[in-house]
């Protein structure tokens, strides 16, 4: 277990299980949502919030915290699930997800939610903000790091590559980015919408320290976050996480066209049962 002050007692697999469970329960509130993404990224968020990052749930703006930027704002359901598990947000607010006057809107926005550090919804913004935060932290002499999560579809946006070039230019070794390669975006499989491979070669050529892992293998995710933190070179760090949409709920894993899914009322209970079945594996 790492140095995270909130992660001693419950192991990370249990954290990931609970993040998935929170996300499914929020999905049930609206009957729809970006559930499949939440399930695929739960392991990464478990490691980020309960192993890698220094945060204080009761003080979301604590100056010494590590920053976390959710560039893919539609993954808000996943981050809310993690923030609820971490104690930033009371568990009972889960039932307000996506509803009028909720602090948990479908798209992540900094003005609504404790622990949400940027306003997403429009894609390809997070990495540019991360460059600025990385520069600002260095300028202040801060030991904090900036983490950012973005999706493979965001690689289509030119602004993402501007930020990728810039982060290396400024030698931002305090910037750790995770790209979720689940190969699914609005119009179809990401690699078919716009071919972005070979991704590791491209990122290395742009001057980043790059690791590619199975983003649903907890041990691999832990090792990658540790290596990203400890890597000696003055380079920004990218974790390319290959993930499985709907991970942990087999019938959702198998479903096609699952960028934004609608789930029948009786299926939510089945999804929770599937998570429970996988809990002891």
């Amino acid at each position: 277990m790492g140095h995270n002050p909130i992660g001693h007692n419950v192991d990370l697999a249990e954290r990931a299980y609970r993040i998935r469970r929170n996300a499914v329960r929020m999905g049930e509130v609206q009957g729809q949502g970006y559930i499949a993404q939440a399930l695929d990224i739960a392991d990464v968020l478990a490691v980020a919030y309960f192993h890698a990052m220094r945060v204080r749930p009761d003080d979301p703006h604590w100056e010494e915290r590590d920053r976390f930027l959710l560039s893919n704002g539609h993954y808000a359901i996943a981050l809310y699930a993690a923030l609820i598990e971490a104690g930033f947000i009371p568990d009972e607010e889960l039932e307000t997800y996506g509803s009028d006057d909720s602090r948990l809107p479908m798209s992540g926005m900094a003005s609504y939610t404790p622990g949400m550090e940027m306003s997403g919804g429009s894609l390809g913004l997070g990495l540019s903000i991360a460059v600025g935060i990385g520069l600002g932290l260095k300028r202040k002499g801060s030991a904090s790091r900036v983490y950012t999560l973005f999706s493979d579809g965001e690689l289509d946006e030119g602004s993402v590559w501007e930020a990728i070039m810039s982060a290396a230019h400024w030698k931002l070794d305090n910037l750790i980015a995770v790209v979720d390669v689940n190969n699914q975006q609005a119009d179809g499989p990401s690699t078919q919408v716009m071919a972005f491979e070979p991704l590791v070669d491209k990122l290395q050529a742009f001057g980043w320290f790059v690791q590619r892992i199975d983003g649903n293998d907890l041990d691999a995710v832990i090792a990658a976050f540790d290596a990203a933190r400890d890597h000696p070179e003055q380079k920004p760090r990218m974790i390319v996480a290959d993930t499985k949409m709907g991970c942990g709920v087999p019938f959702l894993e198998a479903r096609e066209k699952n960028h934004f899914i609608r789930v029948d009322p009786e299926e939510w209970q089945l999804a929770l049962e599937a998570l429970d079945a996988g809990r002891t594996r």
Binding site: E93, R103, P105, S111, G121, G153, D156, A186, D187, M194
Partner: protein, 336 residues
């Protein structure tokens, strides 16, 4: 924290969805599915120079209908709006007529310089069709295009169209193609209300049309607000208020002659109603025209406030920001 941030909830809130995509059709209202996509397919059968392009939003702008009918004339540009419009300029440069689609927020905010420099400055023949205009998404400011009319009105060479319903979109597509030069279309997608067919209406570029006449108040509107204005007029009629509705689907160039004639009729208050920020849209365009022309009726303006709007269910938000039929009716009654 902005003023948008609600306090932690005390009572159990109403569960209304704030989904990105929601039909603006009322309960039981007649609708047509994907009128833009079907109209474009019909037109493209006669005009081989038409190509379709999108930035990862084919399914969400009804362009998937075109992509299926003409797969070799469809370009998926990825989620890259600057590239989308730059490449559209390139195709237009080579003699093709691109219909390029994305959401209104991304064309107006993200790709503005590309459209300005690569398309409008050269007066290239690119048709820009953008879904989720104004407040037609409950997803929050990232998807609520509350200033697109202001931005595209201000761009030289750009023609700007804000259609009301499926009937008008179907007619606007061939008219856009017949017009030489860049056009920005506020696109209604999915199940789109069908309203204007009952009024024998026909879309003409640059023409405002009286949909309903009345003695007491003139509602000047565009887009979905014309649908609302007709509902308001019906509600006002029950209170013996006789409201006229002047539909102005072409925001630029504005039909000055018709607007001045109708607003110049004595004894009628003029109310401009628009699904857009009160800054820079139809309301200020009409107000400026009237003032410059020395036509000064009592003037009122219904539009979205100069704020980052909330996420929430569309009916909730339309009530909150004053563009629902009920709230509009009450406000106009209060002004009379």
């Amino acid at each position: 924290m902005s003023s948008n941030a609600p306090a932690a909830p005390a009572a159990k809130p109403k569960l209304k969805t704030s989904a990105m995509i929601a039909s603006i059709a009322g309960e039981g209202q007649r609708t047509v599915s994907a009128p833009f996509g079907h109209a474009l397919v019909e037109l493209a059968g006669q005009r081989p120079e038409i190509v379709g392009m999108t930035a990862d939003l084919g399914k969400y702008t009804d362009l998937h209908i075109f992509a299926k009918a003409f797969p070799d004339r469809f370009y998926q540009m990825g989620m890259a709006e600057q590239l989308l419009f730059g490449a559209a300029a390139g195709l237009a440069h080579e003699g093709f007529m691109p219909f390029a689609t994305t959401y209104a927020v991304f064309a107006s905010r993200r790709a503005y310089d590309f459209i300005h420099q690569t398309i409008a400055e050269e007066d290239l023949n690119v048709k820009i069709a953008c879904a989720l205009p104004g407040l037609t998404s409950g997803y929050g400011p990232s998807h609520q295009a509350t200033e697109d009319l202001a931005l595209f009105r201000a761009m030289p060479n750009m023609t700007v169209i804000d259609p009301c319903d499926a009937h008008e979109i179907g007619q606007a597509v061939p008219v856009m193609a017949a017009h030489k030069g860049p056009v920005y279309l506020r696109l209604l997608r999915g199940n789109v209300p069908l309203v204007l067919d009952e009024y024998g209406y026909r879309f003409e570029l640059g023409k405002a049309k009286t949909i309903r006449d009345g003695r007491d108040v003139l509602i000047v509107s565009s887009g979905i607000m014309t649908m609302r204005a007709l509902e308001v007029a019906a509600a006002l009629a029950a209170d013996k208020v006789d409201a006229a509705v002047l539909h102005v689907p072409t925001i630029k160039p504005l039909d000055a002659e018709t607007i001045l004639r109708e607003a110049g009729r004595t004894g009628r208050m003029v109310v401009v109603a628009e699904n857009h920020s009160v800054i820079g849209g139809l309301g200020e365009a009409v107000a400026g025209l009237l003032l410059r022309s020395g036509v000064t009726p009592v003037f009122r303006h219904i539009g979205l406030p100069d704020q980052f709007l909330a996420a929430g269910a569309l009916p909730t938000l339309h009530d909150r920001y004053g563009i629902s039929t009920a709230v509009m009716t009450d406000r106009i009654k209060g002004w009379l």
